[in-house]
């Protein structure tokens, strides 16, 4: 019998589907408008030459954490779900100077691959490096399945990303809800959310709470943060 159904077999992610592009509706609004502005960026994904090239035009600093690659070791270091232990193990993955602050954190699709406790631990580790208004860009999947590991994202331009899916057997997707994410990642609010065609929800979170005195922000970046509506929209745009 001839099959009339032609679908993509997503049980295993093939190499020929590894590199795909997707729109980003939130990234452009997070970039400084001024040519003289600087940007301090934390990329939680692996190092990508395109991202370095993209952010070099803004000056400032690009920090690459490649968080997931160290996650296995961190998971092995603590088998318990105890928050404090997890946070300590995670802190080793983000070994920054105490005075470090970030204007933008690129979480990409990492949150899909963290347990709820790990999401809380991640936010606990990030909090010391966030200022009021620090933006966190994240993709949360609404699909049933997802690749076995986070994809590697490269920025082609302010509106377009290229991502490389990892090969291997698909795994169930937790499909985290917004409310649950906000409960676990304290201090974050949703500035914008966009539904993308590939089944991802693109979130622009903003860090609102700071229990410590804020460190002096980088020059020019202060202007961009004091005018949060510049380049940002309060309603999801398509």
């Amino acid at each position: 019998m001839r099959s009339l159904f032609r679908g993509t077999n997503r049980a295993t992610f093939q190499k020929n589907n590894a590199r795909q592009s997707q729109k980003s509706l939130g990234l452009r609004g997070l970039l400084p408008e001024s040519d003289t502005a600087t940007l301090r960026v934390l990329d939680l994904g692996p190092a990508r030459s395109a991202n370095l090239e993209f952010f070099s035009r803004y000056g400032g600093q690009l920090t690459v954490a490649d968080f997931y690659s160290g996650l296995r070791a961190a998971r092995a270091a603590t088998t318990s779900d105890e928050d404090e232990r997890k946070a300590k193990a995670f802190a080793a993955l983000l070994p920054f100077d105490k005075s470090t602050r970030f204007d933008l954190v690129l979480a990409w699709d990492l949150l899909n691959y963290l347990t709820p406790q790990e999401q809380h631990a991640l936010m606990t580790c990030l909090e010391p490096y966030c200022l009021a208004g620090t933006a966190i860009l994240a993709f949360v999947s609404t699909q049933k399945e997802m690749p076995p590991a986070p994809s590697a994202y490269s920025i082609r331009d302010a509106d377009t990303l290229v991502y490389e899916e990892r090969e291997g057997r698909a795994r169930p997707c937790p499909r985290y809800l917004e409310g649950d994410l906000l409960k676990r990642m304290q201090g974050l609010t949703v500035e914008n959310r966009y539904q993308l065609r590939n089944g991802m929800l693109e979130y622009v979170f903003s860090y609102r709470m700071s229990s410590r005195p804020a460190a002096a922000p980088s020059r020019e970046s202060l202007r961009y943060r004091l005018e949060p509506t510049a380049g940002w929209t309060t309603t999801p745009s398509r």
């Binding site: 030459s49 370095l52 090239e53 952010f55 070099s56 400032g60 600093q61 920090t63 690459v64 490649d66």
Partner: protein, 163 residues
């Protein structure tokens, strides 16, 4: 009217980017001091010449003049300062290139980078910060095309073909 032989004039050829910039390299330059694969050094290295590392170094490396190249088998646990730094091996430490830092395809770096020009080849692994205020000319590159322009100005390709 048009002289066809001018088109095939071998003295006139397009200038490619690779010819105008210093190519990144993982093989030792002809005059470079070399630390072989069997050598392991603990301490500080100072000098004013090119250095090629295939062995293991712990400490600090400072070259007032010249380049430092970490070969594929090189293992460096040190802060490195040189005019140009090329990494094809493993480095744990900060890299300060007065002109250029290039992470080659097999390079693995954990540390901070500060240079006028930073190049990351596809496949290179990096964890750390890149000071982009110093890196006025950050470059991405595929494994086929390597860019390593030392100054901050953009490259221009000129073609002098005559018809």
């Amino acid at each position: 009217m048009w002289k066809k032989n001018e088109v095939n004039d071998s003295s006139v050829r397009p200038v490619t980017p690779a010819e105008t910039v210093q190519p990144a390299q993982s093989t030792p330059p002809a005059r470079a001091a070399r630390i072989g694969g069997s050598l392991s050094i603990k301490g500080d290295l100072y000098g004013e010449e090119d250095l090629f590392i295939e062995g293991r170094i712990e400490g600090k490396i400072m070259m007032k003049k010249g380049s430092v190249t970490v070969g594929e088998k090189g293992r460096v646990h040190a802060d490195v300062e040189a005019t140009n730094i090329h990494v094809a091996g493993e480095v744990e430490g900060d890299l300060h290139g007065r002109e250029q830092v290039v992470l080659l395809e097999t390079g693995r770096v954990q540390g901070n980078i500060k240079a006028k020009s930073v190049t990351l080849q596809n496949g290179a692994q990096f964890k750390g910060s890149i000071d982009m205020e110093s890196a006025g000319n950050a470059k991405s590159s595929s494994s086929e095309v390597v860019s390593g322009k030392a100054n901050g100005s953009s490259q221009s390709v000129s073609s002098t073909q005559r018809i």
